[in-house]
Symmetry: C2
Subunit: 271 residues, 2 copies
């Protein structure tokens, strides 16, 4: 597989070649490297891509769950995507990434054909200054993938002081770097940009990794196109830490105040 360097780094990373419908090959590059293996968001985006390029795909993603079962090396992988059931207005999917004879990730997804209906943002849009008034974070350290995003931090920073903090909440403006028009794969990847909340609480780094991420989409393709490449408002916090695992919930908003995605993770940690 050759890389088309005219593409955005995200599109290079999640590019697939088709062996057969539902059987794809990809290679997650070091441009999105995390501490061990690639950034989970780009694994998720590649898996969703393998559903969306399938010729029998019907509708837009409504909910996606990715379980990260093992590390993925900087090497080719196989992706299998399978239609579980097609109903009148939705379609259920299962996907697996394999590498070196082992399953590295599984995913389920539901696509749907949405009709216009009564709609409402029940969760209020946070009261924050516009992205343009907040300076981008100058990233001095951290894993490579962090350089693929532009972060404008409002609340919840990571000075790594070692002084425990009473909450793990972060609020920030975020977009792809370089800027890229929003679509479902990019939004799914963005729902994984939050550092493990244990780092925020303890203000120190340690072993931690997402084992599962679920993202519910509250948008269709037109709503994502409307957002374009402008920063999203992103919020994340933990709810409970208990014996090596915590949950991490997140919301991603359009800059005009619509909740585009809500997400939750189960994250492993060791202290």
């Amino acid at each position: 597989m050759t890389t088309d360097t005219s593409l955005h780094p995200l599109d290079q990373a999640i590019a697939l070649t088709t062996a057969a419908p539902g059987h794809y090959r990809g290679h997650l590059p070091p441009t999105y490297a995390n501490m061990v293996g690639p950034f989970g968001g780009v694994i998720a985006a590649a898996m969703l891509n393998g559903i969306l390029v399938h010729p029998e795909k019907q509708g837009d993603p409504v909910t996606v769950t990715i379980n990260f079962a093992g590390p993925i090396a900087d090497a080719p992988f196989e992706l299998f995507t399978r239609i579980v059931r097609t109903n009148r207005s939705n379609q259920h999917w299962y996907a697996e990434i394999t590498q070196g004879g082992q399953i590295a990730a599984t995913a389920t997804a539901i696509l749907a054909s949405r009709q216009n209906s009564w709609s409402d943002n029940e969760l209020p849009f946070p009261d924050v200054p516009p992205a343009g008034t907040v300076k981008p974070w100058l990233i001095a350290a951290g894993p490579v993938w962090v350089k693929r995003y532009e972060f404008r931090m409002l609340e919840g920073i990571l000075p790594l002081s070692g002084i425990p903090q009473p909450d793990s909440r972060s609020v920030l403006w975020v977009r792809d770097e370089p800027p890229r028009p929003l679509d479902f794969c990019a939004l799914l990847a963005l729902s994984d940009v939050f550092f493990p909340r244990i780092f925020m609480r303890q203000q120190k780094l340690g072993p931690a990794g997402t084992v599962s991420m679920t993202t519910h989409f509250h948008a269709d393709a037109a709503a994502l196109a409307h957002q374009g490449n402008r920063p999203l408002l992103a919020c994340a916090r933990a709810q409970r830490f208990y014996n090596n695992y915590f949950d991490q919930v997140a919301e991603l908003w359009s800059d005009d105040g619509n909740l585009l995605a809500s997400s939750s993770q189960s994250v492993y940690f060791k202290d």
Copy 2:
């Protein structure tokens, strides 16, 4: 398959016979009937049961996602549970229910062997009166499954006035009826006891159904045993309604203030 009527109704409902390890047969009874097919919580609990009875199971559930792909009839079903990968401290699973030649539900789950670690309830326990001071809800109507639970409503009732409400939040004490010691299957079922939030907002019934539910567990078997059969504090609300789908997030707490499970759903609705 015969029903052991000495068992609690939940245990009768989720009972499985083993055709082979990873291949089970069950039959969801009318005692947990919903508007169409069985209560989703009992479908979820039966699928988790088919993972937990597997002889190669390692650890306790940390996160479970169930996608409801089609209705399940009051008739036998087949359940297939498969280990995706076993790691040193966790195990990844995939499960499917089939009936009449079609896949009716899929699930993924991660089990883990937890060690003692730093733990914390970051989300504060709601300030509510004890369960014993709140009268059980006398259920006059609604689907059959509602009779399998005892509800003590604190906030967010359903008078079906037809007068739209500004929020969908519910707070209640809830347990199995008759009372049953808490375990992972019961807690997973309990994470689906919340009526579709669209009913709360619009105060009228209409077509609605969960398409996907994810529950993160913040407890081990001992923590659930400690809760016993006492009521759990349960909270639920929607975050966004958009063109036929909304999300619904929920928390389930022990009566001594520990978050035992956090959950989210993607729910279809039509108005």
